[in-house]
């Protein structure tokens, strides 16, 4: 045999991206789906939940970290504190970062953890990243394996450096064609989630391919990798290409560390799904599940009280640009409160410099400080009977306030069009 055999002498098949990364982080040459390995993450992130992991560390009597350089802490969820308890908890997190010399510490003004960490070059292809947030899948936009865990497990990774992971099977998702005007990555993902279901990719890895991919910006890829969580994905990958390289290289401390991990040509996939982007239309996720999707045409005219443009799904600069393009020179409906939360300081600065921020304010928007904002219940709380349209990634009941309020999810373009009309509207009339 010309190929090296596996442990039982069997021929070794090509590996998917998840298999390669998990094998590397577990220090083995090869893994198979279903296998449980002890993997050493390159980065373990925690956000406003950090204080909880700190309390676990205290509880178990551990004082030493496996490697302080592998920790990242970003206080993004309730920023800044609005009650004594949040203030005290944030202080606990701050003190911990200072005590242990955690360099990758970002305070309440930095913005959303995932965006901040990617902007600052702390995420690179082939990395294994875990953290106290389910949307760690977003790191797949840069070809890293990102997966959410609980705060106790984060403390465990802090101290031991590792965690058990079950090697997932992988679904291959091929995208062809191009978006029609007014249709975007968010609509693609809502379409997929609606089709595959909230657990359609449960425990699985997803790899994106196809002729449509090279055209997609990093921002769109982030939206895709973020929303993939809502179909249950364990992790998701948009294989790194020239665009990834261009975006990331200037941000890396050590450019030589940029080493994309790609699937083998003969990697084995559990399932293959194809989507022709040109057939897609603007989509809405209706209350109270993300998988409850409908084409926007079926919910036109639904009155809204509030519109939220932000979150790690769609709070990026490109998203603000799309919304501003529709809002420019116009005023939002007087019955709508439009809240815009830039995803990070960097995004807000770019929006200031390019005039986008002024455009949004002039249309009647309220621009908040960068952070998770209303998505996580930080402001934008709704009263009984109120309706919010949001570019975030979840619309579970009561997430934005009253359990008698409703959340619809959409793309930034749909959001802007709807804020103008005071009701859910089709963005395509503005293109």
């Amino acid at each position: 045999m010309s190929q090296p055999g596996g442990p039982m002498g069997q021929p070794v098949m090509g590996q998917t991206i998840a298999e390669k990364i998990l094998a590397a982080k577990a220090g083995v040459s090869h893994v198979t789906p279903g296998q449980i390995v002890d993997a050493y993450p390159d980065l373990v992130m925690s956000h406003t939940a950090t204080w909880r992991s700190v309390s676990v560390m205290k509880k178990i009597g551990a004082t030493r970290l496996y490697d302080p350089n592998r920790l990242a802490i970003v206080l993004d969820h309730i920023s800044p504190a609005k009650t004594e308890k949040y203030a005290a908890d944030q202080q606990t997190s701050r003190n911990f970062a200072r005590e242990y010399g955690i360099e990758k510490f970002y305070d309440v003004d930095a913005g959303i953890a995932h965006l901040v960490l990617m902007e600052h070059g702390h995420v690179k292809p082939g990395d294994l990243i875990v953290g106290t947030d389910s949307h760690c899948t977003i790191y797949g936009a840069l070809g890293a394996l990102g997966s959410g865990i609980g705060y106790t497990e984060v403390a465990s990774v802090w101290v031991t450096g590792k965690l058990w992971m079950k090697v997932p099977t992988t679904i291959k998702l091929t995208l062809t064609g191009r978006f029609a005007a007014g249709v975007s990555a968010k609509d693609l993902m809502l379409h997929l989630i609606g089709t595959l279901g909230a657990d359609g990719c449960g425990y699985k890895s997803v790899e994106f391919y196809g002729s449509a991919l090279p055209e997609m910006s990093i921002s769109e890829r982030m939206t895709m990798a973020n929303l993939a969580m809502e179909m249950g994905s364990k992790c998701v990958f948009i294989p790194p290409d020239e665009k990834t390289r261009e975006w990331l290289l200037p941000r890396l401390k050590n450019p030589a560390s940029y080493q994309p991990v790609l699937a083998d040509k003969d990697a084995v996939y559990e399932q293959s799904i194809e989507v022709d982007l040109s057939k897609l239309t603007p989509m809405i996720a209706c209350p109270h599940q993300v998988e409850n999707t409908k084409p926007v045409t079926e919910v036109l005219g639904t009155r809204i009280d509030q519109a939220f443009l932000g979150s790690c799904a769609n709070g990026k600069y490109e998203d603000l640009v799309v919304a501003a393009g529709i809002l420019k020179g116009r005023k939002i409906d007087p019955g709508v409160r439009l809240i815009v939360t830039p995803g990070s300081k960097e995004i807000m600065l770019e929006a200031m410099r390019s005039g986008i921020l002024a455009t949004l304010v002039e249309s009647g928007a309220l621009v908040t400080n960068p952070g998770c904002g209303a998505c996580a219940g930080d402001g934008g709380t709704m009263a009984d009977g109120e309706v919010s349209l949001s570019t975030a990634n979840r619309n579970f009941v009561g997430r934005m306030g009253s359990n008698k309020s409703s959340i619809y999810l959409s793309s930034p373009a749909t959001l802007a069009a709807s804020a103008l009309k005071g009701e859910i509207a089709d963005p395509r009339e503005f293109f």
Partner: protein
């Protein structure tokens, strides 16, 4: 941790998400008792109290989907719930339940068979759950992971390994 768990069940449907189990505004707490006061509150004010009179939760697909919040399993434990049986679990809930020493069982057949208030008995060692004269098998948690559950959760597991 006991090998047999039995009691009355409360039945949920599919996709019971993290926000329904415990709302974001209560994540300032990590104590089971405090969290239990607000568990499933989104379904109605009387819910936390109502669920206390049951022993085991049975649910459909994708139980615990959504956020990675560990407090979802902590809140359920705080209610005095001894185990959760579901047709399937969201992966973060699955992990967090193990880390919180909340026994979880994957058994779609049981979900189909039961109604609210029914009595069931789960034999964790044998991998079988009994209900109304029938027995349903379920996959065991891999030993390497189950030991965390058996030692009373991840924090306890870590304490013992750190001491060693």
């Amino acid at each position: 941790m006991q090998d047999t768990i039995q009691g009355r069940i409360y039945k949920f449907g599919d996709n019971v998400n993290s926000d329904i189990i415990i709302a974001g505004r209560y994540l300032i707490y990590i104590e089971p008792a405090k969290l239990a006061e607000h568990a499933f509150e989104m379904l109605g004010e009387g819910f936390p109290a109502k669920l206390r009179s049951f022993d085991i939760l049975v649910a459909g697909r994708n139980f615990g989907c959504g956020s990675a919040r560990e407090q979802a399993s902590t809140a359920i434990k705080g209610l005095g719930i001894k185990a959760v049986v579901a047709a399937s679990f969201a992966r973060t809930f699955y992990r967090n339940a193990i880390n919180d020493a909340l026994p979880i069982v994957e058994c779609p057949e049981l979900y189909e068979a039961v109604a609210e208030g029914d009595e069931i008995s789960i034999d964790l060692a044998k991998g079988v759950v009994a209900h109304a004269g029938s027995q349903y098998g379920f996959p065991q948690i891999p030993e390497s992971v189950a030991k965390i559950l058996k030692l009373g959760g991840l924090a306890n597991y870590l304490k013992s390994t750190l001491r060693a």
